[in-house]
Amino acid sequence: MTATINTLPDPSSATFSSALQTFLQQEAANRDVLRQVSSIVSGGLHGTAAGLVGSPGSVVAFPGGYYTTESGSITYSDSKSNIWVVIGKDTTTSPPSNWSVYPAPIT
Protein backbone atom coordinates (compact mmCIF):
# COMPACT_ATOMS: atom_id res chain seq x y z
CA MET A 1 0.00 0.00 0.00
CA THR A 2 1.25 3.45 -0.89
CA ALA A 3 0.48 6.22 1.54
CA THR A 4 1.19 9.12 -0.79
CA ILE A 5 0.59 9.84 -4.46
CA ASN A 6 3.95 11.49 -4.98
CA THR A 7 7.22 9.94 -3.91
CA LEU A 8 8.24 11.01 -0.45
CA PRO A 9 11.43 13.08 -0.55
CA ASP A 10 14.50 11.29 0.71
CA PRO A 11 15.79 13.02 3.86
CA SER A 12 19.31 11.90 3.06
CA SER A 13 19.24 13.54 -0.34
CA ALA A 14 21.06 16.79 -0.97
CA THR A 15 17.95 18.08 -2.72
CA PHE A 16 15.64 17.22 0.14
CA SER A 17 14.56 20.80 0.84
CA SER A 18 13.50 21.61 -2.71
CA ALA A 19 11.98 18.15 -3.17
CA LEU A 20 9.98 18.64 0.00
CA GLN A 21 8.66 21.96 -1.27
CA THR A 22 7.56 20.34 -4.52
CA PHE A 23 5.99 17.45 -2.65
CA LEU A 24 4.00 19.76 -0.39
CA GLN A 25 2.83 21.83 -3.35
CA GLN A 26 1.59 18.86 -5.31
CA GLU A 27 0.42 16.23 -2.86
CA ALA A 28 -2.64 18.01 -1.48
CA ALA A 29 -3.82 19.10 -4.92
CA ASN A 30 -3.24 15.65 -6.40
CA ARG A 31 -5.35 14.15 -3.64
CA ASP A 32 -8.13 16.70 -3.97
CA VAL A 33 -8.41 16.19 -7.69
CA LEU A 34 -9.14 12.50 -7.12
CA ARG A 35 -11.88 12.93 -4.57
CA GLN A 36 -13.33 16.36 -5.08
CA VAL A 37 -14.31 18.76 -7.81
CA SER A 38 -12.74 21.79 -9.37
CA SER A 39 -14.51 24.68 -7.74
CA ILE A 40 -14.70 28.43 -7.64
CA VAL A 41 -14.88 29.88 -4.18
CA SER A 42 -15.50 33.50 -5.11
CA GLY A 43 -15.33 36.00 -7.97
CA GLY A 44 -14.77 35.17 -11.59
CA LEU A 45 -17.63 37.04 -13.18
CA HIS A 46 -18.32 40.56 -14.36
CA GLY A 47 -21.30 42.11 -16.04
CA THR A 48 -21.81 43.96 -19.28
CA ALA A 49 -20.04 47.31 -19.46
CA ALA A 50 -19.91 50.43 -21.57
CA GLY A 51 -16.23 49.91 -22.29
CA LEU A 52 -14.09 46.90 -23.08
CA VAL A 53 -12.72 46.49 -19.56
CA GLY A 54 -14.25 43.83 -17.33
CA SER A 55 -13.36 43.25 -13.69
CA PRO A 56 -14.09 39.71 -12.52
CA GLY A 57 -13.13 40.68 -8.97
CA SER A 58 -10.83 38.72 -6.75
CA VAL A 59 -11.07 35.15 -7.94
CA VAL A 60 -10.38 32.31 -5.55
CA ALA A 61 -10.59 28.88 -7.16
CA PHE A 62 -9.20 25.36 -7.11
CA PRO A 63 -8.53 24.41 -10.75
CA GLY A 64 -7.23 20.88 -10.75
CA GLY A 65 -7.28 21.02 -6.97
CA TYR A 66 -4.68 23.78 -6.80
CA TYR A 67 -5.39 26.86 -4.69
CA THR A 68 -5.34 29.73 -7.17
CA THR A 69 -6.07 33.42 -6.86
CA GLU A 70 -6.32 36.13 -9.48
CA SER A 71 -7.44 39.75 -9.47
CA GLY A 72 -7.48 42.76 -11.69
CA SER A 73 -9.35 43.52 -14.87
CA ILE A 74 -9.43 42.23 -18.42
CA THR A 75 -9.35 44.44 -21.49
CA TYR A 76 -11.14 42.65 -24.32
CA SER A 77 -10.79 43.03 -28.04
CA ASP A 78 -13.75 44.67 -29.70
CA SER A 79 -16.26 42.93 -31.96
CA LYS A 80 -15.68 39.37 -30.77
CA SER A 81 -18.65 37.05 -30.49
CA ASN A 82 -17.15 34.42 -28.20
CA ILE A 83 -14.38 35.22 -25.80
CA TRP A 84 -13.87 32.30 -23.44
CA VAL A 85 -12.38 33.15 -20.07
CA VAL A 86 -10.97 30.52 -17.73
CA ILE A 87 -8.81 30.55 -14.64
CA GLY A 88 -5.88 28.17 -14.68
CA LYS A 89 -3.39 27.21 -12.04
CA ASP A 90 -0.36 28.04 -14.13
CA THR A 91 0.40 31.34 -15.86
CA THR A 92 4.07 30.71 -16.46
CA THR A 93 3.99 28.03 -19.13
CA SER A 94 2.75 28.32 -22.67
CA PRO A 95 -1.02 27.90 -22.93
CA PRO A 96 -2.66 25.52 -25.39
CA SER A 97 -3.21 26.64 -28.95
CA ASN A 98 -5.73 29.47 -29.28
CA TRP A 99 -5.40 30.39 -25.62
CA SER A 100 -3.68 33.50 -24.33
CA VAL A 101 -2.40 34.03 -20.83
CA TYR A 102 -3.83 37.30 -19.64
CA PRO A 103 -2.50 40.02 -19.42
CA ALA A 104 -0.59 39.01 -22.54
CA PRO A 105 -1.97 40.83 -25.60
CA ILE A 106 -5.20 39.35 -26.85
CA THR A 107 -4.94 38.20 -30.43
Binding site: G44, G51, G64, W84, V86, K89, Y102
Partner: protein, 151 residues
Protein backbone atom coordinates in the same frame (compact mmCIF):
# COMPACT_ATOMS: atom_id res chain seq x y z
CA UNK B 1 -6.55 32.57 -19.82
CA UNK B 2 -8.59 33.81 -22.73
CA UNK B 3 -9.63 32.25 -26.00
CA UNK B 4 -11.15 34.72 -28.41
CA UNK B 5 -11.00 32.49 -31.47
CA UNK B 6 -13.31 29.53 -30.96
CA UNK B 7 -16.86 30.08 -32.11
CA UNK B 8 -17.92 26.96 -30.25
CA UNK B 9 -16.95 25.83 -26.80
CA UNK B 10 -13.24 25.03 -26.85
CA UNK B 11 -11.43 22.33 -24.96
CA UNK B 12 -10.58 23.74 -21.59
CA UNK B 13 -6.87 23.79 -20.82
CA UNK B 14 -5.68 21.31 -18.21
CA UNK B 15 -6.14 22.45 -14.63
CA UNK B 16 -8.45 25.32 -15.47
CA UNK B 17 -12.05 26.25 -14.72
CA UNK B 18 -14.32 28.11 -17.16
CA UNK B 19 -15.51 31.48 -15.90
CA UNK B 20 -17.28 33.41 -18.65
CA UNK B 21 -18.16 33.68 -22.31
CA UNK B 22 -18.00 37.31 -23.31
CA UNK B 23 -19.19 39.13 -26.40
CA UNK B 24 -17.97 42.59 -27.33
CA UNK B 25 -19.43 44.99 -29.86
CA UNK B 26 -19.25 48.71 -30.53
CA UNK B 27 -16.59 49.23 -27.93
CA UNK B 28 -18.61 47.65 -25.15
CA UNK B 29 -19.03 44.35 -23.35
CA UNK B 30 -22.49 43.43 -24.51
CA UNK B 31 -23.03 39.84 -23.35
CA UNK B 32 -21.59 37.86 -20.45
CA UNK B 33 -22.57 34.24 -19.92
CA UNK B 34 -21.71 32.74 -16.54
CA UNK B 35 -19.88 29.45 -17.12
CA UNK B 36 -18.78 28.94 -13.53
CA UNK B 37 -21.35 26.21 -12.83
CA UNK B 38 -19.48 24.05 -15.36
CA UNK B 39 -16.54 24.14 -13.00
CA UNK B 40 -18.56 22.27 -10.42
CA UNK B 41 -18.57 19.18 -12.57
CA UNK B 42 -16.48 16.36 -11.23
CA UNK B 43 -13.01 16.25 -12.70
CA UNK B 44 -13.29 12.52 -13.05
CA UNK B 45 -16.37 10.37 -12.94
CA UNK B 46 -16.42 7.54 -10.45
CA UNK B 47 -16.67 4.38 -12.53
CA UNK B 48 -16.45 0.85 -11.24
CA UNK B 49 -16.50 -2.46 -13.06
CA UNK B 50 -18.56 -4.79 -10.88
CA UNK B 51 -18.11 -8.46 -11.69
CA UNK B 52 -19.59 -9.94 -8.52
CA UNK B 53 -22.69 -9.23 -6.46
CA UNK B 54 -22.45 -6.20 -4.23
CA UNK B 55 -24.58 -4.24 -1.77
CA UNK B 56 -24.19 -0.56 -2.50
CA UNK B 57 -23.53 1.91 0.27
CA UNK B 58 -24.39 5.59 0.56
CA UNK B 59 -20.85 6.79 -0.04
CA UNK B 60 -20.90 5.13 -3.44
CA UNK B 61 -23.63 7.54 -4.54
CA UNK B 62 -22.65 9.18 -7.81
CA UNK B 63 -20.83 6.12 -9.08
CA UNK B 64 -21.36 4.57 -12.49
CA UNK B 65 -21.29 0.79 -12.20
CA UNK B 66 -20.62 -1.36 -15.23
CA UNK B 67 -20.55 -5.14 -15.51
CA UNK B 68 -17.39 -5.05 -17.58
CA UNK B 69 -15.61 -8.37 -17.33
CA UNK B 70 -18.59 -10.18 -15.82
CA UNK B 71 -19.01 -13.79 -16.88
CA UNK B 72 -22.43 -14.25 -15.32
CA UNK B 73 -25.29 -12.40 -13.68
CA UNK B 74 -24.28 -9.62 -11.32
CA UNK B 75 -26.77 -8.42 -8.70
CA UNK B 76 -26.35 -5.03 -7.08
CA UNK B 77 -28.52 -4.31 -4.06
CA UNK B 78 -29.39 -0.69 -3.39
CA UNK B 79 -29.13 0.79 0.08
CA UNK B 80 -32.33 1.99 1.76
CA UNK B 81 -33.65 4.85 -0.34
CA UNK B 82 -32.64 8.25 1.00
CA UNK B 83 -33.39 11.43 -0.85
CA UNK B 84 -30.59 12.40 -3.23
CA UNK B 85 -28.75 9.09 -3.43
CA UNK B 86 -27.93 8.40 -7.06
CA UNK B 87 -26.40 5.50 -8.96
CA UNK B 88 -25.90 4.68 -12.61
CA UNK B 89 -25.62 1.29 -14.26
CA UNK B 90 -24.26 0.42 -17.69
CA UNK B 91 -24.28 -2.92 -19.49
CA UNK B 92 -20.78 -3.46 -20.83
CA UNK B 93 -20.70 -7.26 -20.85
CA UNK B 94 -23.35 -9.44 -22.46
CA UNK B 95 -24.59 -10.62 -19.06
CA UNK B 96 -27.57 -9.82 -16.88
CA UNK B 97 -27.10 -6.81 -14.62
CA UNK B 98 -29.74 -6.67 -11.90
CA UNK B 99 -30.44 -3.85 -9.49
CA UNK B 100 -32.44 -4.79 -6.42
CA UNK B 101 -34.29 -2.25 -4.29
CA UNK B 102 -34.14 -2.36 -0.54
CA UNK B 103 -36.99 -3.49 1.68
CA UNK B 104 -40.14 -1.49 0.95
CA UNK B 105 -38.49 0.52 -1.86
CA UNK B 106 -39.52 0.68 -5.50
CA UNK B 107 -37.81 1.68 -8.74
CA UNK B 108 -39.85 3.53 -11.37
CA UNK B 109 -39.40 4.70 -14.94
CA UNK B 110 -42.54 6.19 -16.43
CA UNK B 111 -45.32 3.65 -16.00
CA UNK B 112 -42.88 0.84 -15.30
CA UNK B 113 -42.41 0.25 -11.62
CA UNK B 114 -40.87 -2.58 -9.68
CA UNK B 115 -42.53 -4.26 -6.77
CA UNK B 116 -41.38 -3.32 -3.29
CA UNK B 117 -37.87 -4.70 -2.88
CA UNK B 118 -38.13 -5.55 -6.57
CA UNK B 119 -35.62 -5.45 -9.38
CA UNK B 120 -34.74 -3.89 -12.69
CA UNK B 121 -32.49 -5.83 -15.00
CA UNK B 122 -30.98 -5.87 -18.44
CA UNK B 123 -28.39 -7.79 -20.43
CA UNK B 124 -28.04 -5.77 -23.62
CA UNK B 125 -24.70 -4.11 -24.12
CA UNK B 126 -25.04 -0.36 -24.33
CA UNK B 127 -28.14 -0.05 -22.20
CA UNK B 128 -27.98 2.05 -19.08
CA UNK B 129 -30.13 3.41 -16.29
CA UNK B 130 -29.49 6.20 -13.83
CA UNK B 131 -31.65 6.24 -10.74
CA UNK B 132 -32.07 8.70 -7.90
CA UNK B 133 -34.00 8.42 -4.66
CA UNK B 134 -36.66 11.12 -4.39
CA UNK B 135 -37.74 10.12 -0.86
CA UNK B 136 -37.25 7.28 1.59
CA UNK B 137 -39.10 4.67 -0.48
CA UNK B 138 -38.91 5.58 -4.18
CA UNK B 139 -36.16 5.45 -6.76
CA UNK B 140 -36.86 7.01 -10.13
CA UNK B 141 -34.95 6.72 -13.39
CA UNK B 142 -33.42 10.06 -14.36
CA UNK B 143 -32.20 8.60 -17.62
CA UNK B 144 -32.73 5.22 -19.19
CA UNK B 145 -31.53 3.63 -22.41
CA UNK B 146 -32.99 0.41 -23.79
CA UNK B 147 -35.75 -1.74 -22.41
CA UNK B 148 -35.19 -2.75 -18.81
CA UNK B 149 -37.26 -5.39 -17.08
CA UNK B 150 -39.07 -4.23 -13.96
CA UNK B 151 -40.09 -7.01 -11.61
Amino acid sequence: MINSVSATQPTWPDESIPLMRVTTSGGAITVVDDLRPLGALPLKANIRAQRIDHTLINTESGTLFTNEGATGTVILTLPAAAIGLEYEFYIQANQTFTITAGSGDTIRSGTNVSTAAGTVSNNTVGNMIRIVAINSTEWIARTITGTWTFA
